[in-house]
Amino acid sequence: MHWTLLVIFMTAALAGQQRGARGGLPAVPGTARPAPANFPAQQRPIDTALAARGSTLYGTHCSTCHGGDLRGGDKGGTNLLRSALVLNDQAGELIFPVVRDGLNNPGMSPMPKIPVNQEDGKAIAEYIHSVAATAQRQGGPPPGPPVTLNILVGDAAAGKTYFASKCSSCHSVTGDLNGIGTRFPNPRDLQNSWLAGGGGRGGNAKPVMVTVTLQNGQKVEGQLNRIDDFIVILNLPDGSTPSFRRNGDVPKVDIRDPRAAHRNLLPEYTDRDIHNVTAYLVTVK
């Protein structure tokens, strides 16, 4: 997969918000138009009454093998949401014959015949399509019931020891981290935040500071706005953003990143260290 996909999907999501505005506008290539739903499974109209009847039939005849969520089951039923036959079916014309006659393909668990008539087969197909239509982006399954995942698997005592040796030169649980365990209702957010040095999502990390020493000895200090091989730009307290051309080591640029210590630890941590420290910090009330 591709790292620009996120941007694409954000764009698609924005386009989706305007979907209600779609109408009989003339077709002009290149003008910003609302996007059609991405995939055929999402583009098809669903007969909700038929799908509701199919849901009951599915529960009776299919879910034991194919799973209540259609993603397959222990008895060898395949995942219907990624089945080519299901995805190619329009209105039961492919699904019903398989339901009626069963399947016995080499290398696959055999599927028995199911005693349903064509109308019921069509209803089952409609139900399957109605679920497939709720699949998520990047091939994700439909959202299931929420699950609670406990990330607190670490040893708080070991975490306390680690904190004392690696963190306590800059941080204190009675000082800057006082009550940190109550500040984050979700331990995962706490873990992300301390790993990121407070600069994670919603964090308020201290800014990166930079000092530029000009050839005449004058020093200019401010927050780092941007730097590359060719330029350094500062944010000064008066709101100005002076820039300086860089040519190798001239002028001298000294960057002070308050989170450098956190960055330097990333290659050092073991996952156990991380989980232990989190288990410790949630106890800091």
């Binding site: 694409i8 764009t11 699950v147 995942l149 990330i151 873990q191 992300n192 730097i227 590359d228 990333l266």
Partner: protein, 550 residues
Amino acid sequence: MSRTKILFSLSLLLLPALLVSQSPAGSAGLDPASLLKPLSDTWPTYSGDYTGRRYSALKQVDRTTVKNLTLGWIGRVNPSLGGGTIVGGEGAEEWAPGNVSVRGAILMVDGILYPTAPDHVWAVDARDGRQLWHYYWKTRGGTHIGNRGVGIWRNYLFFETPDNYLVSLDVKTGKERWHVELADFDQQYFSTMAPIIVGDHVIVGTGNDLDSPGFLQSYHPETGKLEWKFYTVPMNIGDPGLETWPNLDAARHGGGFSWVPGVYDPETKLYIFGTGNPTPGYTGAGRKGDNLFTCSLVAVHVDTGKMAWYFQTSVHDTHDWDSAQTPILIDATINGQQRKLVSTAARNGYFYTVDRVTGKHVVSSKYGMYSNWAKGQRPDGTIEPDPLKEAIIPGSLVSPVEGGVANWPPPAYSPDTGWFYTRENNGFNMLYLTDPDPRGSMGLAGKQPFGFGNLGSSGDFLTAIDPKTGKVAWRHKLYGGGGGGLLATAGGVLFSSDGSGNFVGFDARNGNPLWHTRINISNAPQTYMLDGRQHVLVASGDTLYDFLLY
């Protein structure tokens, strides 16, 4: 006769020769045999030539003269500009996917450029950037992520659409000749690859995120008839590689997509390409095993589509680290022996060189400074993954991030320096498992990565690697990460983006910047000759920038 007149007469005498040299294709169009020549005056295929080196023999622009590069023209390709659009397509409704971004290769043949974006192809005059024609494909929908360019065979042009058609146009007029469906839209395939022409074959790949099988196909350029189809995963009992999957159902939904162009070795007639990640991407419980032939270098005979060899660059991948990089053909002497090799800098941070005739391992090395997912090297040169570095409920700290140490934007190789050039992004993220279902999730779902923004980036570099040893020769620090395809030249200049919004000419010997301009480029730089001058071309979104020396 005055001196001026003599010169004038001489130039008239030379005119036919000049015309011939400017128009190598002539009325018969682009001869596929010309793609066998090393990259120099034109840019007739995705990587410029078949080697994947993106090494141009041109040297007007060199380490000394590069500082004199000047802007020739700026041209825009955007449907909103109008100008004689030819409309095709099977879609019931129009969908323009927002901003046009040219990310792929822009072929240059006969003084004409062919930039693309999803659903769009343009012909542009390489002398002034003006639009000659524009073809627009009405889509059925699907993932509109990018288009990597066109292929040209004689007077026919070929490109893929996001809704999975191979479309052939008349190269001179942009009029459609035919289109064929190359993958099943219902199964959520989407197609971005630049078709690669080899002889009378149009080689096309496709992508998908849902759990479907990957494949590579060859079509006939005249008729659009399918010649062969090679699946990258086992599809039937008895297929090779099935023993690396728990069952046939898992293999048939195992991914391994072929969305980036490969390279071609005319001596062995092997087309060598990288395959994408196995599916489901992050949850491997339902696909225990190595999962062949996903995340692999694969060589297929170009006439039959039969596999000659494979080498897996990411065994049982669980991080979406496709091996869909364009590999590079390298000829080198190792231990006194002349070797025919192919190298790839994989997304997972490991660099591999293998024998391109046999597929046997030569070099495996770690080039991603902090890549921490591996447990060691197997005797066959592949790398054993550490299951503890998969997505887990309490989170595992993994480097690199999903985008990888490198990604699909092409690397380069210079036979002058002997180095393989790549981008190196050393990011970290916490990878949480959010779908612990023992059946595994689907597609790329089931995980939640937490990145650390700039904090998680422990160094982004332009990196030179010795493909004979896998050792890093040098790293030039970059202040921004991301993609950034590369172009190497005989003039000793390495062109790329610096990840901070600059287009830069680096010194191929050490990575020092020699020239730059503040253009945030969206594709990999290219170079060619036009009217006796070397040009350098880049795209930034819908805008093309042509540079040259006067």
